[in-house]
């Protein structure tokens, strides 16, 4: 049990102490300091207040026996047997963590008619793949999938479970975590493991302004989700290693109150909000026909084209492609800005991008303050040659 205890006699200035709390969780009730429900347990009052006025006490809790939980498990995300690439990225990470603490790497693969796909996983450094193949697992439905997951966890007792933060993973992982009353950290960007097998989970919090390091010190299994393209997939080895274990589960545990009526393939949407790579054009583009080089650059990079407001006003692009305060916010892995000055109204919509390359001939342009890679030069002299370069690299 952890709680805050107030020692009234050690408080000299009650109102000064109240001011320390950023959440307004302390009240002066007739000279007695009380902590109310707004408390977030940030413990600032403990650290900043007068010595001993507010103390944080933690009772002994029953400790989980961590040695009983062994292995790093990866949930195999797939649609009708097509394995989602995030799975391989997680296997790579799992291997790395497992080697540090000398644990095995497991995969959990459930679905219908998937048996023959499991072999592929053995090329990426997995020790054991647990396959649950059943007609009732054909479509993703939460109750049977959770039941299978539960069966797997009880059977294998993995210390860590990694799940891709896909639509399915984000729905399934919390359900499993709640069933085992354990911790689940969403969208981790960095994972490491301590000697005592505690998983170190780092994730952005509060819109990416802050990073939080989170552990699950007294519960097993420890669960984390990771987005696609955050970790690096290992090279596929020509030789398969490890083994496949076919598992079964009683059908009555696979009942569901959900009935999937239809599954339709979607048309691929092309928008800038979800784009991973964006080529953005600004007023440095002199005429509409010059947009051709922007489109070509985007094409060779597999990128979406976006722009600043003046180009929308000129009618060169659809308004859905405007980035900025009065346009869309984007957060791609890469954005290349071409002839954009970098007004705050523009940068407000893109400064959280992971990597920003800016090309502008004015070295004083404010865009260089937000760019990671600032190129002082003329877009007309750089972009056509850059397109040729990229083509050559891709052909090589």
């Amino acid at each position: 049990m952890a709680k805050l205890i107030v020692n009234q006699e050690k408080i000299t200035d009650i109102d000064a102490l109240i001011k320390i709390c950023p959440f307004g969780a302390m009240e002066n009730k007739n000279g007695i300091l009380e902590i109310n429900a707004s408390c977030r347990m940030c413990k600032l009052c403990v650290r900043r207040g007068p010595e001993g006025a507010v103390v944080y006490v933690e009772d002994e809790v029953v400790k989980v026996d961590k040695s009983k939980w062994k292995g790093i498990a990866v949930y195999v995300d797939h649609v009708e047997g097509d394995i989602h690439p995030v799975t391989f990225e997680l296997i790579g990470k799992a291997r790395e963590l497992a080697d540090k603490v000398n644990h095995p790497v497991y995969c959990l693969f459930m679905g219908h008619d998937i048996g023959h796909r499991a072999e592929e996983l053995l090329h990426y450094g997995v020790d054991e793949v647990f396959v649950y193949d059943n007609e009732m697992l054909k479509d993703f439905r939460i109750e049977p999938y959770t039941a299978v997951f539960e069966d797997f966890v009880n059977r294998v007792k993995p210390s860590v479970i990694l799940v891709g933060a896909t639509t399915i993973g984000r729905s399934l992982a919390p359900r499993v975590a709640a069933r085992f009353k354990t911790g689940l950290t969403a969208d981790c960007t960095v994972l490491d493991i301590k000697e005592n097998t505690d998983l170190v989970q780092i994730r952005p919090a509060f819109g990416g302004n802050i990073m939080a390091q989170i552990v699950t010190p007294n519960n097993r299994p420890q669960m984390a989700t990771v987005r696609y393209k955050v970790m690096t997939a290992p090279e596929r080895k020509a030789e398969a290693s490890g083994r496949i274990i076919h598992c079964s589960i009683e059908e009555n545990r696979l009942k569901s109150n959900i009935n999937v009526l239809s599954v339709t393939k979607k048309q691929k949407e092309h928008g800038i909000s979800e784009a991973e790579i964006i080529v953005a054009a600004g007023r440095g583009i002199k005429s509409e026909k010059d947009m051709a080089m922007i489109y070509e650059l985007a094409d060779v990079l597999g990128a979406e084209v976006a722009c600043t407001r003046p180009l929308i006003e000129a009618g060169w692009l659809d308004s859905k492609r405007q980035i900025g305060l009065s346009g869309r916010t984007v957060r791609p892995k890469l954005i290349i800005t071409c002839g954009i000055s970098g007004a705050v109204q523009f940068t407000a919509g893109m400064n959280n991008s992971e990597y920003i390359i800016a090309i502008n001939k004015d070295e004083k342009a404010p865009i260089f303050k937000v760019a990671h890679y600032g190129i002082v030069g003329d877009i007309y002299e750089i972009i056509p040659g850059l397109i040729e370069n990229i083509k050559r690299v891709k052909e090589a």
Binding site: A178, N209, I210
Partner: protein, 262 residues
């Protein structure tokens, strides 16, 4: 039909900083608003009520001030509001939050349908909804972007999956989390504001729950612990390059290769 919507009060801004000395969040407790994604959940509930009749309630766990978001929900047309507030809920992670909400839900109502927002702008996990469903032992469907049919004992919804659109029928009681393009949320109305000025917000504390063990709630009931918070690394890679066009485009090419974009 009984519909319950889970709503949360979140900071009005995401501009938070970490005090580099203490490692503690610097932010104003005053500036807060309803989680924007929860407005879509409320709207969905109100539309269903318009079609089928029944009651729409909202529930939130938070500090006493969170009653403001319940008042806001009243102004949109919600019938009832429940606030779960107790000092011992402080420091809850996803598991403890979901558990507290599930205890509250069991205590006060027996909804046919529970609707959650897609995610919160502060917690940003999208996990609370599915965990509540688990604790209540009911099925859930996430990423709902359309309600196709509301039947007597089930609801037919369309789900947005990465490569497919799925249509599924779920029996009540169940929980759904909705996408933000499901319906355009209505604005709070001044008329409703006057009408609901005196409508009470029902408050419950840990003492009212079936499980009164303090260990299940707040920091104690949270398996995850935040070891430290820190500002994101500043990019030391920030570089400015000048030179002739040929050099420059070669450097960009090398960089793109290094970053594995090509």
């Amino acid at each position: 039909m009984e519909i319950l919507v889970c709503i949360k009060q979140v900071p009005g801004t995401t501009k938070v900083e970490v005090d580099p000395v203490t490692g503690v969040l610097k932010r104003d407790g005053v500036d807060s608003k309803m989680n924007p994604y929860d407005l879509y959940a409320i709207e969905t509930a109100l539309r269903i009520r318009e079609q089928r009749g029944g009651r729409v309630s909202v529930i939130t766990m938070g500090p006493p001030q969170a009653s403001v978001v319940i008042k806001e929900a009243y102004m949109m047309g919600v019938d009832d509001g429940i606030l779960l507030s107790d000092r011992r809920f402080a420091g809850s992670d996803v598991l403890a939050t979901s558990y507290t909400l599930s205890q509250g839900i069991k205590k006060v109502s027996n909804p046919d349908l529970i609707i959650c927002g897609k995610q919160t702008t502060d917690g940003d996990t999208a996990q609370v909804g599915p965990e509540i469903a688990e604790y209540l032992g009911i099925p859930h469907v996430a990423n709902v972007r359309k309600i196709l049919e509301i039947k007597d004992s089930s609801i037919v919804v369309e789900m947005d999956m990465p490569e497919t659109v799925e249509i599924a029928e779920i029996k009540y009681p169940c929980l759904i989390t909705v996408e933000k393009d499901i319906f355009q949320p209505r604005l709070p109305s001044f008329k409703k504001k006057l009408e609901t000025r005196d409508r009470e917000v029902k408050m419950f504390t840990l003492q009212d729950f079936e499980d009164r063990d303090e260990k299940s709630y707040g920091l104690n009931g949270s398996p995850t612990k935040v070891e430290r918070i820190f500002p994101p690394e500043v990019n030391n890679d920030r570089r400015m390059l000048k030179g002739n066009p040929e050099e420059l485009r070669n450097k960009i090419t090398v960089k793109l290769k290094e970053l594995r974009f090509i």
